[in-house]
């Protein structure tokens, strides 16, 4: 079946193969690996932030005054915060504060190496009470009607060629009504004049009518708020008595008004 030659070839091939196998196992060892690198120096442990400064200047204030917080943080910082509602801040800075009472501000600086705090205190002292006003002798003259009108009562202003009260004029007159009632009760014999004025642009003749209508509008409104109509009189000055004379809208507006003065 199998020829002798074929068996020989096979045996030869097998032996060569086996031989070759035996040869491979006998190759020399590879060169040694390169030396392991020298390990790097170990990283130093992170430092905590350093507070160079945290102060309040001045450290003592009177109530209502302000002090300035100043701070300077060095080192590795990830956040800086100050309590008492100051909040997160930069690592260096200043901030004005107006504490109502003595307050200690704590600054907290945080970095990878930990956090550090520092405190600054602002002492608030209450100012001394002002000197009392000189006592008025009981017989001293009280404020005049004119002074009271000047300090407590405002003008009502109008739009061009209009005598109707706009919302601002109504607001002003509503405030005036309270003051006018007080003045009238304080001065039971006083009569008050409501003067109607106009700006310089319309004719002087027509403005007599317009000023009269402005004064009447103001009076009607005050009476509706309970001010005694018997003690309010009206007078039109048209454009005869301006309080400014510039030809500008600002001045024109100032002159379109109902103004209060003591009656004769």
């Amino acid at each position: 079946m199998f020829s002798k030659r074929k068996i020989t070839v096979v045996c030869l091939a097998v032996s060569i193969a086996l031989f070759a196998e035996g040869c491979k196992k006998k190759v020399p060892a590879p060169p040694p690996p390169p030396p392991a690198p020298v390990p790097a120096a170990p990283a130093p442990a992170p430092r905590a932030p350093v507070v160079g400064q945290f102060s309040a200047e001045p450290s003592t204030i009177q109530r209502g005054q302000s002090a300035t917080l100043r701070w300077e943080i060095s080192g590795e910082v990830t956040s800086v915060a100050i309590d008492q509602s100051v909040g997160t801040v930069r690592s260096t800075g200043s901030q004005q504060i107006t504490p109502a009472s003595s307050t200690t501000y704590t600054l907290t600086a945080t970095g990878p190496g930990g956090s550090i705090t520092s405190a600054a205190t602002v002492t608030v002292v209450t100012p001394p009470p002002p000197a009392p006003p000189p006592p008025t002798p009981p017989s001293a003259s009280p404020a005049t009607v004119e002074q009271r009108l000047g300090s407590d009562v405002q003008d009502a202003f109008f739009e061009y060629d209009k005598s109707e009260l706009n919302s601002e004029a109504r607001e002003a007159l509503t405030r005036d009504a309270t003051a006018l009632k007080a003045i009238l009760s304080e001065f039971p014999n006083a009569i008050l004049m409501i003067e109607g004025h106009c700006d310089e642009r319309g004719s002087a003749e027509y403005n007599l009518g317009l000023g009269d209508r402005r004064a009447s509008s103001a009076k009607e409104f005050l009476v509706s708020l309970g001010v005694s109509g018997d003690r309010l009189k009206t007078i039109s000055y048209g454009k005869e008595r301006p309080q400014c004379t510039e030809s500008t809208e600002a001045c024109w507006q100032k002159n379109r008004r109902a103004h209060f003065s003591p009656g004769q």
């Binding site: 642009r201 003749e205 027509y206 007599l208 317009l210 009269d212 004379t245």
Partner: protein
């Protein structure tokens, strides 16, 4: 073809209507450019009178120029010699007619250097008339001898169109007065009325911003002779003058709320107008043409209606009945039956007219801008008024309207604010307030806007009204 004829006919009719509606201000403004040329050389005076001749010459020139009926020849065109009296004019010697040689230029026309009438008639003067004369002191009075010479008459002996002697006080006022009188006579020769003797009442404002003072003043039509009438040391305003010139009515705050006063002017006396009690405004009075009543604005359940009353305030009744502001009524001086006034009844104030019983109210201005200050022409045909039409709010100009036609002419054109027009008695001039110099001053002009003259310079002056 028919259609074309129809269109042409319609177009022609339209054009004719438009032409008829063209501004008809005839009788009001002299449109004739051929005015007589008048030479008005400076007159000289003797040693005592010469000091006042500058005032005399300035006044004479101004009166003649301002009348608007002459072309005054500039003085640089006059001959070198000015005759001082009619007798100084010489008759030129008879001209010898020498035959001209060939090539010879004709001799220049002979002249008398000013002593021949032809010197004034020919170029460069080219006058139709010349005024000559002189002034001298006699009995310590200023005496002027004046002539108007008609240059169309060949013989100087017959050329005196006017020869008159005027005697006034020996001072500047006297010299001005003789000039006014001389000018009046010259104007009369040409059928024109002089304004000399008429008066302009006006308001002068003074005082501080906080306590302003306004008083009524009066002056001559040339701004001279300014005199203060009221001395209330308060606000007084809106004067008007009675038709006979004897009284004024005005508004004053001297007793509190604005009220009416009626004064006689010579002597100055309060004639007692009784204001309606309880009215917060009684103001802007003006007289009816018979001088027996006044119309005015007054509050009655709101300001203001037009009222009429006697000169003492009695027989008071309202004419208008609107719910808006009716102001500054003026009765037509010719008819006495209609009233012009300003009103805000349709919005911004406009000029209206109504019958004196309050009926037939009509708006005269077209509703644009704001219109105020109506003033009737003495003839009753025209109204002068202030209007902001075409300008900003408050920027008034003077206009004149032909009331029947409603067409109007604008006389001032934005040179400051121009308000308060009032006609002169001659119906040719208008006095008004202008802020063109930067302050409120009184000016006069012809009713066509020419011959402007500034009458006041001091302080702040307004609301002029021109009376007899």
């Amino acid at each position: 073809m028919k259609r074309i004829v129809w269109i042409m006919g319609a177009a022609t009719a339209t054009l004719m209507v438009l032409a008829a509606q063209q501004h008809d201000f005839s009788g009001l403004i002299k449109v004739d450019a051929q005015l007589p040329a008048l030479a008005v050389p400076d007159l000289r005076g003797d040693a005592g009178a010469q000091a006042f001749m500058a005032a005399f010459n300035q006044t004479l020139w101004s009166d003649l120029q301002g009348a608007g009926i002459f072309n005054l020849v500039p003085r640089s065109h006059y001959p070198s010699t000015v005759p001082q009296q009619l007798a100084d004019f010489k008759v030129p010697p008879p001209v010898e007619n020498k035959p001209l040689r060939r090539g010879q230029a004709p001799p220049p026309p002979p002249t008398g250097g000013g002593l021949w009438l032809s010197d004034w008639l020919n170029p460069p003067t080219q006058a139709n008339y010349v005024t000559v004369g002189y002034a001298a002191v006699q009995n310590n009075l200023f005496v002027l001898r004046g002539w108007l010479v008609d240059l169309s008459i060949p013989n100087p002996v017959n050329a005196g169109a006017l020869a008159k002697t005027y005697i006034e006080s020996l001072d500047e006022a006297g010299a001005r007065k003789t000039a006014h009188e001389f000018a009046t006579d010259i104007l009369e020769r040409f059928g024109a009325k002089s304004l000399f003797g008429s008066h302009i009442y006006f308001v002068r404002r003074a005082g501080s911003l906080k306590t302003p003072v306004a008083e009524i003043w009066v002056m001559d039509p040339d701004g001279k002779n300014q005199k203060q009438i009221t001395r209330f040391n308060a606000l007084s305003d809106f004067p008007s003058v009675s038709p006979d010139g004897d009284k004024i009515a005005f508004t004053s705050w001297v007793r509190g709320n604005p009220g009416i006063f009626v004064f006689s002017v010579d002597p100055v006396r309060d004639l007692r107008f009784y204001n309606q009690r309880g009215a917060s405004v009684t103001a802007t009075p003006s007289f009816t043409p018979d001088g027996k009543q006044i119309v005015f604005m007054s509050s009655s359940a709101g300001c203001c209606r037009i009222f009429i009353a006697n000169l003492d305030g009695s027989n008071l009744r309202s004419i208008s009945s609107s719910s808006s502001i009716d102001a500054e009524p003026k009765v037509n001086p010719k008819t006495g039956s209609e009233v012009a006034f300003a009103s805000g009844r349709s919005g911004p104030q406009q000029i209206y007219r109504m019958n004196i019983d309050g009926t037939d109210v009509e708006r005269l201005t077209d509703g644009t801008g704001e219109a105020s200050n109506p003033s009737w022409h003495p003839g009753g045909q025209f109204l002068a008024y202030a209007w902001t039409r075409g300008f900003m709010t408050g920027a008034f100009n003077i206009f004149v309207m032909n009331v029947a036609r409603r067409d109007y002419q604008q006389l001032t054109h934005g040179e400051g604010k121009n308000e308060n027009p009032s006609w002169a008695p001659d119906g040719k001039h208008i006095v008004f307030m202008s802020t063109r110099t930067g302050s409120s001053q009184i000016w006069s002009m012809l009713a066509d806007g020419t011959e402007l003259q500034q009458l006041t310079t001091q302080g702040s002056n307004l609301h002029p009204v021109w009376g007899k």
